[in-house]
């Protein structure tokens, strides 16, 4: 039976922003629809309205011509709308089956049968009786999908489902989704990844700043055209030149180990690598495999043995971040809002966090505010931070502008090595482009980069050499030209 879902003139206003501005869309089963947009474009709001989490200010939703009243997620379920959120809603310590039976009205036996049929049909293999915490991210997602399928949904909404998956898991997911679609389930796929849209979907709706900007068929689009619609401007494509062959080693890590007392952290096992001047070493991996610990060890937030890190012919393993900066290292952590910057503090105060001695921010224990402000203004203009008010609290900067400020703060002292961790995470395409250009420029100036990232495309674009981190161990270092995203995917999954 054909399913028709219609969103009609939906508007949702929050104080200070119009999340959805008069959005109308129509979906029909048999096709996979992409809802594409940058962060903050309003796609999540729209999806939450469809799943009953948010009630719109205006507008109606029709499923097969019936006007739906979606006042709670339960209403959405009752109306056969299933939703898989980006972050899993599973009880980690309960078994898979217990998780599934929680919101089901069925008897244990019949539910188990039903789950078995579903798993057989779609080739899922998950042990129903082990605790969820033992599952991989891909398996957890399958549990969420099964939870939806149990209810025979007419509509299945997937919110950024691949952000935690490996390449292989992603292609498995795509196969399943195509199968669901053939069976008549209407699929709405939310993402900001253009490649996935091209691979998977039949039609694409692009949102920008709360408005629907276009609806089109995939066969009439390509990655560039979609990117331009998403950002609202033409983007230039950037390409990295190959690094000049070896002009001397800059940093060498040897036999570095880190054992954590915290059970939620990953131990680092026998890390060895080196980076030459002018080179970018990419470190790939699925998040949670020791990247954060590796970053902290490299930045000096975690101190290690003196000899384990040799930088520019000095042993610096036992130095804290501030002392390492004096040796011309710079660091851009993953968490912009909780680590790299303090949102409640003003822009210029955040600039002072990188206290490089020769910048004279503090003299004899006193704050030299003029110097800091002067410096901040330079960063803002050199790195295109979109504000002219350095007294502004940094929480009012967009993610992209904040990241530019942080990268600018780290680079303005012209360090020999920049270590960055997911530098473009959660940014819009325009800002990502800018950051990528900046990183390429650093390499061109014969400075080095260690780029820890969970974004494989980014790594392939920017790195000269790539290694993969899995469970705290680094794979052998490969030249970026030999590596494909498939190969990385296999290594990220732990195979050799």
């Amino acid at each position: 039976m054909n399913t028709n879902l219609k969103i009609s003139n939906v508007t949702k206003i929050y104080p200070g922003c119009v999340a959805n501005d008069n959005v109308s869309l129509e979906f029909n089963s048999g096709k996979i629809y992409a809802l594409l947009g940058e962060n903050g474009a309003g796609k999540s709001t729209l999806v939450k309205i469809l799943s009953g989490v948010i009630i719109p200010d205006e507008g109606k939703i029709y499923l097969n011509e019936n006007n739906l009243k979606l006042n709670s997620p339960l209403d959405a379920k009752k109306n056969d709308i299933g939703m898989v959120f980006q972050h899993f809603n599973l009880f980690e310590t309960l078994s898979v089956f217990e998780n599934l039976i929680i919101d089901s009205d069925e008897q244990r036996e019949s539910l188990r049968e039903k789950i078995d049929t579903i798993m057989k049909k779609y080739n899922f293999s998950i042990d129903l009786d082990i605790p969820v915490l033992n599952l991989s991210a891909g398996q957890k997602q399958k549990v969420e999908i099964i939870r939806c399928l149990i209810r025979n949904p007419k509509v299945l909404i997937m919110d950024e489902p691949t952000s935690v998956l490996t390449e292989q898991e992603t292609s498995e997911l795509f196969l399943s989704l195509k199968k669901f679609s053939e069976e008549g389930i209407l699929i709405i796929y939310i993402t900001h990844k253009l490649k996935e849209v091209m691979q998977l979907c039949d039609e694409v709706a692009v949102m920008r700043r709360g408005k629907l900007v276009s609806v089109s068929e995939i066969k009439n689009e390509n990655i560039e055209s979609l990117a331009n619609k998403m950002v609202g401007q033409n983007l230039k494509t950037i390409k990295k030149k190959k690094a000049k062959t070896s002009s001397g080693q800059l940093i060498k890590i040897s036999n570095l180990n880190f054992t954590s007392e915290d059970p939620f952290e990953t131990n680092l096992v026998d890390i060895n690598f080196s980076v030459n001047r002018g080179e970018c070493l990419g470190i790939a991996g699925i998040s949670g495999n020791g990247q954060s610990e590796l970053f902290q060890v490299l930045s000096g937030e975690i101190i290690s043995e003196k000899n384990s890190i040799e930088f520019n012919k000095n042993y610096i393993g036992d130095l804290n971040p501030q002392d390492r900066r004096e040796y011309l290292m710079a660091f851009s952590p993953e968490d912009r809002l909780e680590q790299a910057a303090i949102p409640q503090m003003k822009i210029f105060e955040n600039v002072a966090l990188n206290n490089f001695k020769s910048s004279n921010f503090f003299n004899n224990g006193l704050i030299n505010e003029n110097k800091i402000k002067e410096h901040s203004k330079k960063i803002i203009s050199d790195f295109n931070v979109n504000t002219d008010n350095i007294e502004l609290k940094s929480q009012f900067l967009s993610g992209g502008n904040l990241q530019k400020l942080i990268i600018g703060r780290e680079l303005i002292t012209s360090p020999d090595l920049l270590i960055c961790f997911n530098p473009t995470w959660g940014l819009d395409v325009g800002a990502i482009n800018y950051i990528h250009e900046t990183l390429i420029k650093i390499n061109e100036q014969n400075k080095s980069i260690i780029l820890i990232s969970t974004d494989t495309d980014e790594l392939l674009k920017l790195s000269d050499k790539i290694s993969v981190i899995h469970k705290g161990k680094l794979s052998k270092i490969m030249s970026a030209e030999e590596v494909t995203s498939e190969k990385l995917g296999i290594l990220m999954g732990g195979a050799n």
Binding site: G16, E301, N320, F331, I342, L353, F362, G365
Partner: protein
């Protein structure tokens, strides 16, 4: 139609206006409460806020009450600005008073210029020691400083109780729960003949100036601020974040301890059971009403001090229960927090144009 719109950034003017608005709303609500209780609102408010400070004596009493409030609030502002929720200043005050009182008792038969500085110093150290408990537990054992500091208040009061009833009680005191009188050398000098205002006020003013300087002008202050917002950021910047947290607690404890010294070596001149009418708690309100800024805190301490005096005057002249003083303190904080909403949002009146 009324519409609530988010501000692009918090308004600076509103930042200073909301404390005034909060005080105004407190007066209105207070008047209403008096009215409901059957008192004439304007007369009651007059007895509450004007009569107590209408003469020289009243004014001196105002400064006397404002001194500990200001001193403690200045100390607390270090903690609060760096997100450390020390709400046990009352305990630090008490423990500071115990230590300085103990030292003063050692010298009870002696005179000498050196005694007072030692007594004052002992009070500061006592407060610091007591504040170091929640600080160390927080930084090294991840305990919640709100709970620890609050519970320690009651511990310190019980210790004081024990001491003034037991080992330290005045042998010639007919079993009253109080110690001997300190010698004159251990007392803060009074500023004017016949008035109770004493030199402690200079300690408060000095604390205000020093705190302004440290927090706004020094690298140390900057590091405290950063560490308070995020230990992760402090670590990343290369600061010793945990030490900074302990430091703000120590500063805060020292100020509370000094306030304790002022209470026992000022007009009272001995240790007894109730040395503070909850100054340590009320100072939390003062700190926020003063926007955690030294100048603001000085004004706020005066405003809140009136509620102490007013409560007594109103009880004497109008038979209004003196606990209304606490009601007023509560209302000020309540309205302040509520009007802070205006920092981030503005209210727009939209006419129905069609």
């Amino acid at each position: 139609m009324i519409k609530i719109v988010k501000r692009d950034q918090p308004s600076r003017a509103i930042f200073f206006f909301t404390p005034v608005l909060a005080i105004f709303l407190t007066l209105v609500a207070g008047g209403l409460i008096f009215f409901v209780l059957g008192f004439k609102p304007f007369e009651a408010l007059k007895f509450f806020f004007i009569v107590p400070i209408a003469d020289k004596y009243g004014f001196s009493e105002l400064l006397l009450k404002a001194t500990p409030l200001c001193l403690i609030a200045i100390g607390l502002s270090f903690c609060f600005k760096s997100n450390n929720w020390n709400i046990g200043a009352e305990g630090q005050l008490t423990f500071g008073a115990i230590v300085s009182g103990g030292v003063a008792l050692l010298f009870y038969e002696q005179e000498g210029f050196y005694i007072l500085p030692i007594v004052i110093l002992a009070g500061a150290i006592g407060g610091m020691l007591y504040a170091s408990i929640p600080a160390i537990l927080k930084t090294y054992f991840n305990t919640n400083e709100i709970l620890v500091s609050l519970m320690l208040v009651y511990v310190s009061k019980l210790i004081l109780d024990y001491l003034v009833v037991g080992p330290w009680s005045n042998p010639e005191g007919f079993n009253f729960p109080e110690t001997r009188q300190f010698s004159n050398s251990a007392k803060l000098p009074l500023l004017f003949e016949g008035l109770r205002i004493h030199a402690g006020i200079f300690l408060a003013l000095a604390a205000a100036v020093i705190s302004w300087f440290v927090f706004y002008k020094t690298y140390l202050g900057f590091q405290m601020k950063v560490s308070g917002f995020s230990l992760k950021t402090a670590k990343y910047a290369g600061y010793k974040g945990k030490k900074m947290i302990i430091l703000v607690f120590l500063i805060s404890g020292a100020c509370a301890g000094l306030a304790g010294v002022g209470e026992i070596t000022g007009p009272i001149g001995q240790l007894h059971r109730e040395i503070s009418p909850d100054y340590g708690f009320t100072a939390i309100i003062v700190a926020f009403l003063g926007r955690l800024h030294p100048v603001g805190i000085i004004f706020a301490s005066l405003v809140v001090a009136i509620t102490y005096l007013g409560a007594e005057t109103a009880q004497i002249f109008m038979q209004i229960p003196k606990y209304t003083g606490q009601v007023f303190q509560g209302m000020i904080l309540f309205f302040l927090l509520a009007s802070d909403y205006l920092l981030f949002f503005k209210i727009k009146f939209i006419g129905s144009k069609k």
